[in-house]
Amino acid sequence: MSTVGASQKIVDYTVVRAHLTAGLFFFVVVLFTGLLYGLQLQQLYPFPGIEILSPGRLRMVHTNAAAYGFLVNLFAACLYWIIPRLTGSPTLSVTFGRVIFWAWQLIVLSAAVGILLGEAQAVEWGETPTWIDPVALFGAALLIINLTVPIARRRDRNMYVTLWYYSAGFVWLALVYAMGNFLPQYVLPGVGGAAVVGLYIHDLVGLFVTPMGWGLMYYMVPVILKKPIWSHTLSLVGFWGLAFFYPLQGIHHFLFSPIPMYAQYGAIISTIAIEIVVFTVIVNFFMTLRGSADMLRTNMSLRWFYAGMVMYFTTCFQCAFHTTLTFQKVIHFTDWVVAHAHLVMFGVFGFWLLGAVDYLWPRLAGNAWYSWRLRAWHFWGTVLGLVLMFGSLTIAGLVQGNLWAALAPWEQSLIGSTPFWTARTVSGVMIIGSQFLLFYNMWMTTRRPTLVEEPHAVLVDDAAPAPV
């Protein structure tokens, strides 16, 4: 158990807990802004005619808080937990980490307030008001420096694949953020700007969220299963495939636009190519799981990673088809795309992060989970909610796209979408309700008298009834 003591010394539990809590706080913001926007599409918006609560503004808070509040905070919690463990070296400074934490929350909150006051920027996922952009970039750079130092200082000469992803992901985050928030705003008008915005939208997913997510998965799954990943070579094939193909794809967000066609074809071909790369990750996960699948019954964290991986397979399979011009004729501009975005951001990376929360929280609280039953309800409510949301919006997208192509009156596409938008609202309520089970469970876990003295000791799942 000497290594346990060592990692406790080099991991700052406070900053992990802080980022995790903040991530879940912004998660609540994301959930409710999403629900309210969904209600607007059903003409049931509860605050009509109020300027700062205009649905158009809330929609931008929804995506902005999802990216910088929910995802960045939860990934930061994982990074602060994982990097010192993989490198045997602490971050640059504990105080520095906590200052960055508060600075980052201030940035995300100011962005939300700025958007509500009408200062949003017209860049998808870059809604952050223009005056906050340089500050946010600076904050991200500080976070990167704090977390890069242990990678540079590590004792082991070999780099585990997680660190490959993190190292490159840090560089990409800085480059992508600067490119997407400054060039289309100040330098490049029109379709040239659209090409860069396309790269930005896609790179933020592919070059920040994806490397952070894959890195997390490659760390968590072997740790939970207590065995190495199936193939280190394959994992590095995946790394170089991602590095090469992902940055090329952005323009697939603007197909059939006046951007030169060769750039559009290039984006389509590299998008199909990346699906092959994605399969290295999926194969590695399922081959690692082979022989240990029984743990899905007893380990909730693994179950989240498994569910996320199934969603990942779905989303990437879908991607290879709907990036083609044939599919784009019908599905572009429709709810199909919205369904896809939710499947990727929440169904895959959100689920993996919820798996990480499930793993980290008892270790941070020093108690075993309060209730297995609540965890199971949380899991099933969220998964079924997301599947309902994905299914209803995908069908809505097909309905809209086909009605438009058939030259039906525009209003017909709204009437045709109504049942699916109702199902989406129901799915949203399901997802929100399920998260409150998680929050209650987390709260009760912290309140119970310490059952396990060593925070890092193996925590057995609490008296599980026949697992659901």
């Binding site: 607007q40 009509p48 005619g49 300027e51 205009s54 158009g56 931008m60 009408g118 200062e119 017209a122 540079a152 000469r157 780099m159 490959w164 190292s167 490159a168 840090f170 560089v171 990409w172 480059l175 289309p184 705003q185 100040y186 008008p189 029109g190 379709v191 040239g192 700007g193 659209a194 090409a195 915005v197 790269l199 939208i201 070059l207 790394f239 170089w240 590095a243 090469f244 940055p247 090329l248 952005g250 323009i251 603007f254 636009s257 006046p258 951007i259 030169p260 750039a263 290039g266 004729k329 019908v330 429709t334 795309v337 919205v338 438009w404 030259l407 525009w410 209003e411 709204l414 009437i415």
Partner: protein, 210 residues
Amino acid sequence: MHERFTTVALVAGVGCFALAWCLEAWLPLTHIGRIPVKTLEELAPEPTETFLELAELYPKSFKRAYGEPTADAFHDSLRHARDTYIAEGCWHCHSQFVRPVSNEDIRFGAVSTAAEYQNEMQLPQLLGTRRVGPDLSRSWNKHSTDWHVAHFFEPSWVVPTTVMPNYRWFFDENDEPNRTGIAMVTYVMWLGSWTEDWGDEIDEAGENDS
């Protein structure tokens, strides 16, 4: 040697990113960049009919917001509308980009070209990625000034099935369009006014002088 932070950061991080930037951004930009970028003054030198009409319909409110309907006031209103369009997130439900597929040219009008976007009104670009409501890049000839005023005030009065929120803060205490309201109506009735109207061919034949 190869398993070092700096190697990964430089080769994968910077190298792959730079390669992609060259192929998917710099290269297309060399073509697009040949089209000169216009200022608003070059793009739309004179006030549109809508702007003049609004000055007559709402003289008090118009005078307070813009004074006389001069070219300068017109440019001021369009820039303000562009900023409002961004602040309200209009572009999350309305595109400004007609594709050459799915009968979009029949529904909306002429297919979009790169030159249309090389101007300061598309910095940042407003092509959009989702359509809950229709495309707006050809909205100039779809409805009347009165229709747009009523629509911003309460969309369901003119489109019962609409899911668009109302924009009451575009109106003053007398429910007349304020600085923002006048700007927005001018803007949506300016978008696409440089393209051919459906009726143009008939106009040229002298069979329709409306």
